[in-house]
């Protein structure tokens, strides 16, 4: 069986642990062995949250540097920070909407221009899918559904052999019923946007990049 090593990275509160858990559950229900690895503790304190999903029989709950098949970044700076997990064949799926850390606000660091970051990523790996996940989550009717948008983008990229139906079924059984409608919509929006971008693997279309809502732009 083919195996995959996926890394999810983002900021506490963006729901990346739920996204990785849903992927693991969907994989298991599709008959693909899955291990999901999380680190708890600081998740709600605004720090970096990283999780890993290992599919198809790999059991090591850590992805070493250079060994991710897919990197899913919920925040552009965090995508860059986790780039050491990638090799030249890694698929990078990144949200383009910045969430500047507090250190940037108090002058202990500078939030780099979004386009510089995305161009850098694009130069380093073969395939990049960049989407404004927050805008799509808003469109789905729930700003907290960014994680489901990103999950939709992952499935839409066709990098895995898990179908949209399997994931949607898992979303229906494993997320709060009050958010079900917006979550399913968020999934579809991410799925479709990813395919749109996926057709342009050689050049990340700049209109997508620049449409990003950039608070604290510099």
């Amino acid at each position: 069986m083919k195996s995959w090593r996926l890394v999810f990275t983002g900021v506490g509160g963006q729901g990346n642990l739920l996204a990785s858990r849903l992927l693991g559950e969907a994989a298991l229900s599709a008959g693909i062995p899955a291990v999901v690895s999380e680190i708890h503790g600081m998740a709600q304190r605004g720090g970096i949250v990283e999780s890993a999903v290992l599919l198809g029989g790999v059991t090591s709950p850590v992805v070493s540097n250079g060994e991710a098949d897919v990197l899913i970044g919920f925040e552009p700076v965090e995508t860059l920070r986790a780039l050491n997990k990638c090799n030249i064949n890694t698929l990078v799926i990144t949200n383009t909407c910045p969430l500047p850390p507090f250190t940037a606000a108090i002058g202990q660091g500078v939030y780099p221009p979004l386009n510089d970051m995305l161009r850098f990523v694009k130069k380093k790996v073969k395939k990049v899918i960049a989407l404004d996940g927050n805008a799509l989550a808003d469109k789905a009717g729930n700003p907290l559904s960014l994680n489901i948008v990103m999950l939709g983008a992952l499935i839409g990229s066709k990098a895995l052999t898990i179908s949209a139906e399997d994931v949607k079924k898992t979303i229906s059984t494993s997320t709060k019923q009050t958010f079900l409608e917006s979550n399913l919509k968020a999934f579809d929006l991410g799925f479709r946007d990813s395919q749109k971008n996926g057709n342009q693997i050689d050049k990340v279309s700049l209109h997508v990049l620049e449409a990003g809502n950039i608070p604290g732009k510099n």
Binding site: E25, G41, M42, G46, V62, V63
Partner: protein, 616 residues
């Protein structure tokens, strides 16, 4: 019904490692569980807390780990199957009862869950608690994945009853926090009550009794060694002559590396699941069939050194190596690439790895350290204390969210070594120096191990100020209750203990209760302690906003905004409070209305009164 109570043997589901342990305990017919919460073990106790409301299971969050183990000892001696849950440093707190409970033993199976934290994801050290098995003489089991976390928990209860000894079940953070498939077995009903049979010449450890008990413990060691030799938990995979000996999570790294390298035919892997006592005969037989052996174990070279001793006794001279091979270190956790490199280096095999992009020239990225949440009352308390005492006072601190006060611009954490050390070390700091001392401790930590230090401070006439940050919950580990919490909304009826009464009961004369969101008044209170010649305690009381939100106690927040006509850009707000709801836009401070919870602290300290509540 709680998902772990599903009575459908054969069902396969994705469980967190910590949930798998709970399921294993339920399949073993557990009756009694105690803990003090600590990452990465906390979810185990949180699941038991929920389950205890639906079943006959007795569960408690005990005051600390020593108490948890002693409470558990009483239950296990009465014949109940008991689990006691803690993180690795918690076992230091419980080490005193552990050592002698090993002498007297138990009747009902007792499993001590010990969660080590290699890489210090959320701990003050990364000590290797496999030493505790050796120190106490208790058997140790170490699982490698979620299925084993469940199955070995069942095995641990059986083993414990067979030997009449507590069994230490050692996990590491990566195992506690993985999710993997677990196939359920059958649930076993728990026994509601046990009975205690008096036997003072066994249970009362006066020297004359303990001399016999030590002998008994050594006899049990021989028994458990014989069991370890035959245990299916110690398994050999493969038939090759390149030996790899491993344990716990590292087994996965070895397995994946062997698969990546395509060397299944060449290697034999010995995985030690029943890792203490070490099965010396099994290891001798294994070593005899190998050309050379690599030991892959995180942290201390324990297996490695014992293997070398076993080899020496049998006159086996093959090379045995571990630490120092291909980056295998005593520091931090391992990863699959590191283990693969060690195997490549040690055995000499070919591997064409991935092509890694050159990341030089990567834009400089701003750091994203975790910080106190928007509206965290600790921030307000820190502000008030700094306004009065300035930057030079010594701030011994303690273990909890407030340790994040370490980071600038708050920078109000100067010394912490363990739970409770804030209070006792303040006695030393204030006696040994002429500097002012204001120390900080959380409410749960105060109950855990702050009280004895406080009594010491009163009795020995120490002069400092202790601030008890009372946010009404054990926040850092996931909002567990503690003795000072009103638990009525949690579906349990426990007796609440007032921190103020405890402090006064310890003999402290200068006691204040502050509401930190009332900044001016809090500053006045802090000033009073500076003027007081003696020991002062301030109980700074305000609920953790995250907890209040989760518990449904939250009033709809009324966020604040910066009025730019009034703002003169002093930036006291952002520079002194460092609230993550604030950011700069076009060089002016703005407040993110989605993050602001309306604590109003920034509005109270703004010299221009430029921060105002948003109109409804």
């Amino acid at each position: 019904m709680h998902k772990l109570l599903t009575d459908s043997p054969g069902m396969e589901t994705l469980l967190l490692g910590n949930e798998a342990i709970v399921r294993g305990a339920l399949e073993a017919g557990i009756s009694f569980a105690t803990c003090y919460p600590g990452t990465p073990s906390s979810e185990i106790s949180d699941q038991f807390f929920q389950i205890s409301k639906e079943t006959e299971l007795y569960f408690e969050y005990s005051t600390n780990e020593k108490v948890a183990l002693e409470v558990g000892a009483g239950a296990a001696v009465c014949g109940l199957r008991t689990m006691v849950i803690m993180k690795h440093v918690g076992l230091n707190v419980a080490a005193d009862p552990l050592m002698t409970l090993a002498y007297v033993g138990i009747k009902g199976g007792m499993v001590i869950i010990n969660a080590d934290d290699p890489s210090l994801f959320s701990s003050q050290n990364e000590q290797d608690n496999r030493y505790y098995a050796r120190l106490s003489g208790l058997p140790m089991l170490e699982p490698t994945n979620t299925q084993e976390m469940k199955d070995m928990t069942v095995a641990a209860f059986d083993l414990s009853e067979d030997l009449k000894l507590p069994v230490i079940f050692r996990t590491t953070t990566r195992l506690n926090h993985i999710r993997g498939a677990v196939r359920f077995g059958k649930l076993k009903p728990s026994q509601k009550k046990g009975t205690f049979q008096k036997d003072p010449f066994h249970f009362v450890t006066v020297p004359a009794v303990s001399r016999n008990l030590h002998k008994l413990l050594l006899e049990k060691y021989d028994l458990s060694l014989a069991m370890s030799e035959k245990s299916p938990l110690n398994r050999i995979i493969g038939k090759g002559s390149w030996g790899i000996v491993t344990n716990g999570v590292s087994f996965n790294y070895v397995n994946d590396a062997v698969s990546d390298l395509g060397i299944f035919e060449r290697v034999s892997i010995l995985c030690l699941g029943f890792s203490w006592p070490m099965p010396a005969d099994l290891i001798t037989r294994f070593l005899k069939q190998m050309e050379k052996v690599l030991v892959v174990e995180e942290l201390e070279p324990i297996i490695e050194n014992e293997l070398k001793a076993i080899a020496q006794e049998s006159g086996i001279t093959i090379p045995v190596k571990g630490k120092g091979t291909g980056g295998l270190s005593r520091l931090f956790e391992y990863d699959p690439g590191m283990v693969r490199n060690a195997i490549i280096e040690y055995f000499g095999c070919d591997y064409k790895g991935h092509k890694i992009p050159d990341l030089s020239g990567i834009p400089e990225l701003p750091a994203r350290p975790p910080g106190l949440c928007p509206g965290c009352p600790h921030r307000a308390t820190y502000y008030a204390v700094k306004e009065v005492y300035g930057p030079d006072a010594i701030h011994p601190t303690d273990i909890g969210c407030y340790t994040l006060g370490l980071l600038p611009p708050v920078s109000m954490a100067d010394f912490v070594i363990c739970m409770g050390s804030s209070v006792s070390s303040s006695c030393g700091f204030s006696q040994a120096s002429d500097q002012k001392v204001v120390s900080f401790i959380g409410d749960s930590t105060f109950f855990h191990s702050g009280i004895t230090g406080l009594i010491n401070a009163v009795h020995n006439n120490h002069k400092f100020t202790l601030v008890i940050l009372d946010n009404g919950t054990t926040a850092m580990t996931g909002h567990q209750p503690h003795p000072g919490v009103d638990t009525s909304h949690m579906g349990v009826d426990l007796t609440r203990i007032s921190i103020e009464d405890v402090v006064r009961g310890c003999g402290v004369k200068d006691v204040h209760v502050a509401r930190p969101f009332k900044i001016k008044k809090t500053i006045e209170t802090v000033k009073a302690t500076m003027e007081y010649d003696g020991l002062s305690v301030i109980i700074s009381k305000e609920m953790c906003p995250l907890f209040a939100k989760n518990a449904g106690h939250f009033k709809k927040p009324r966020p604040f905004y910066v009025n730019h006509e009034k703002c003169k850009n002093h930036r006291d707000c952002i520079n002194k409070l460092a609230c993550p709801a604030m950011f700069l836009e076009e060089n002016m401070v703005e407040i993110d209305r989605n993050l602001c919870i309306g604590c109003s602290v920034c509005a109270q300290i703004c010299p221009e009164n430029a921060i105002l509540p948003l109109k409804k």
